[in-house]
Amino acid sequence: MLRIIVRRIFILIPMLVLLSMISFLIIQLPPGDYLDTYVLNLRNQGLLVDEAEIDRLTARYGLGKPLHMQYFRWMRNFLVNGDLGRSFGSYGSSYNNKPVTDIIAERLPATMIISIVSTIVVWAISIPIGIYSATHQYSLMDYISTFVGFIGLALPNFLFAIIIMWIVFAQTGHAVTGLFSLEYRHVPWSVAKVIDMLKNIWVPVLVLATAGTAGLIRVMRANLLDELNKQYVVTARAKGLSERRLLWKYPVRIAFNPIFSTIGWLLPAIVGGEALVSIILNLQTIGPVLLTAVLRQDMYLAGSIIMILSTLTLIGTLISDIALVWLDPRIRFD
């Protein structure tokens, strides 16, 4: 057990280094750099481009240097000072020249709240329904949950968000955008603000949780069905074990395995799925910032967000692998 953990952590280190390189590199993939986009925008607006200004910006961001030098400078600053560089201002002027760490810190709470609440909702709904569907296969509830699950899988998140907004707008005449009502948007946290958030958070949570619930019900149902057909279940039943104990003792435990093994992927899945939904619902999360940063090659901002997300995912995968080894003796003794 300990050996496995130490070995995996040992492998994690070179992977994290590789990941930081990939994060930095993929931002450079599109042709040109941020300044090219910047100059193009100015020209499109019919403005004159000041060559000296361009040179000054190039020097400030170190854009003239070769790629590996840029990367090493970025990494050194991060490891020594915890400084991830500054935003080029791709996401509105208020973020212009703002430290990337500040932007992430500002956007992280809303992202985490939405992710955690949606995950809890997904699990709370889909695990019981999945177990019920598997044990009552081909019952009315099974058909209903399967059907709802299928719709959840087939409806793209962003389309679902638009449809909800459209329906609410058509019925009540006001748009459900943002996580907070206007009066609470720029005030510090308080009880009233939390209550206000709860009034608005249901839309993104509903949208994000629907897709997740649909997937998880299917996984849970399929896994449990596989287990229930196995011989040890038949044996246990033949020996007179009560149905309830029979179900909970092993099959449900084993059916949980794939859920644990994918906990690590939850975060990138939610941030990825959330990005489009957040743009439509105007939420102050990381997703929309990441999208514009990637598009306009705001390289330190985009690179840092991708690196942090990927790092969290890798660590999450590690934790879920360890959890699996701990939970499932078959893997442990292999």
Binding site: M15, P30, F150, I162, W265, V294, S310
Partner: protein
């Protein structure tokens, strides 16, 4: 009581004996039989065949070309289709005239009920190219030039949404197949190597896959699509997006292949075959492949809708297909303004096609999974 049970067992046995053709069926036949008994899967397959036929014959089915603007008819609702009157059962439409709402100045279209315009089938209309080789101008249906027929209404510049949806199906439906084809090759090859040889090679490949999965999908797709030059032709962009989608897609398949191989590798019959002198290639093709081929097909079927949704999301945010190319995601860009949807809900119709397609693929995938499971009968 005991006697009843005994008789039930006996009955069951005789029924198995009576249906002895079942035990003589080949594995392929058994799978086909089980698949066809799955009602939803049958429905899914039929609908998908219809959708793909529609996509192939798109230019013929669509009354207009994707870029044709009906001048003076922007944001117009679906054409009401009338039956009866003097014409008997032949359906007809009325020509519509544009007016404005007195207060909001939004367009209002009223039907001019003086003269019905018959809907004719197999008519000549706008010409289109078949396979880029020869020109045709036959269309499934159409009305005379004095009126127009817009089954799903028109968009903000007066293009017929029905025609655009049908033509966009070509991109949206085939991108999934193309992406899965590329993922399939990569996934089988890399996953196969990883699972069959194990050891360090396996470890290395698994970590690379972990790395790829750790990068959030949407941003990765976005960066890669942003790297596609805007100057490329519609076909070039289309191919590039397919490749982009499969770069992420192969990892899942590789994991499936590897997992299956690992669990099969140490089973007695495989070890026996190897001990009796079977070569690697022989063991893989004769024993391993047949055992997980069905599983692979299921995974492939279920991977297609993911790719369709991926293309839709990319096109929706403007990184996928570009005008004049159309895909369902491009069409849905018009729904961004949800305020306008209150007055023009027909702009959501392309979304219905996405949902139905993905749904049907899932039905078929589920049916295949059940059919391929040797324990279900």
């Amino acid at each position: 009581m005991a006697q009843d049970e005994h008789r039930a067992v006996e009955l069951k046995m005789t029924s198995v004996d009576a249906d002895d053709s079942l035990s003589n069926m080949s594995r392929g036949k058994l799978i086909r039989r089980r698949f066809l008994r799955h009602r939803l899967a049958r429905l899914g397959l039929s609908v998908l065949i219809i959708l793909y036929l529609m996509a192939i014959c798109a230019d013929f089915i669509a009354p207009y070309q994707a870029g044709t603007r009906l001048k003076g008819f922007k944001d117009m609702g679906p054409s009401p289709i009338h039956f009866g009157g003097d014409s008997g059962f032949q359906p007809f439409v009325y020509a519509r005239e544009r007016g404005f709402h007195p207060k909001t100045f939004r367009e209002i279209y009223t039907e001019n009920e003086d003269e019905p315009h018959m809907i004719h089938f197999f008519v000549r209309g706008e010409s289109y190219k078949v396979l880029g080789l020869f020109e045709l101008d036959w269309h499934l249906f159409g009305v005379s030039e004095d009126a127009n027929i817009t089954l799903f209404g028109t968009d903000i510049v007066g293009r017929d949404i029905f025609s655009r949806t049908v033509i966009a199906a070509r991109v949206s439906l085939f991108i999934g197949l193309g992406g899965v084809a590329i993922s399939f090759v990569l996934g089988c090859l890399i996953g196969g190597i990883s699972g069959y040889f194990g050891g360090i090679i396996d470890e290395l490949i698994q970590r690379v896959i972990d790395l790829l999965i750790a990068i959030p999908t949407l941003p990765l797709w976005m960066v890669l699509s942003a790297a596609i030059p805007r100057t490329w032709s519609v076909e070039g962009t289309y191919f590039a997006i397919t490749v982009v989608l499969s770069i992420v897609g192969w990892t899942g398949l590789a994991r499936v292949v590897r997992g299956k191989l690992l669990s099969l590798r140490d089973l007695d019959f495989v070890i026996a075959s190897r001990l009796s002198g079977g070569s690697d290639l022989y063991v893989i093709t004769r024993h391993l492949l047949p055992n997980f081929a069905s599983h692979l097909i299921v995974s492939l079927t279920l991977a297609i809708p993911g790719m369709i949704l991926g293309e839709t999301a990319l096109s929706f945010i403007g990184l996928g297909m570009q005008e004049p190319g159309v895909s369902w995601g491009v069409l849905l860009q018009d729904t961004m303004n949800f305020g306008a949807l209150v007055h023009q809900p027909w702009k959501l119709i392309p979304g219905v096609f996405i949902v139905v397609t993905v749904l049907m693929f899932n039905f078929v995938g589920d049916g295949l999974r059940d059919a391929a499971d040797p324990y279900s009968l």
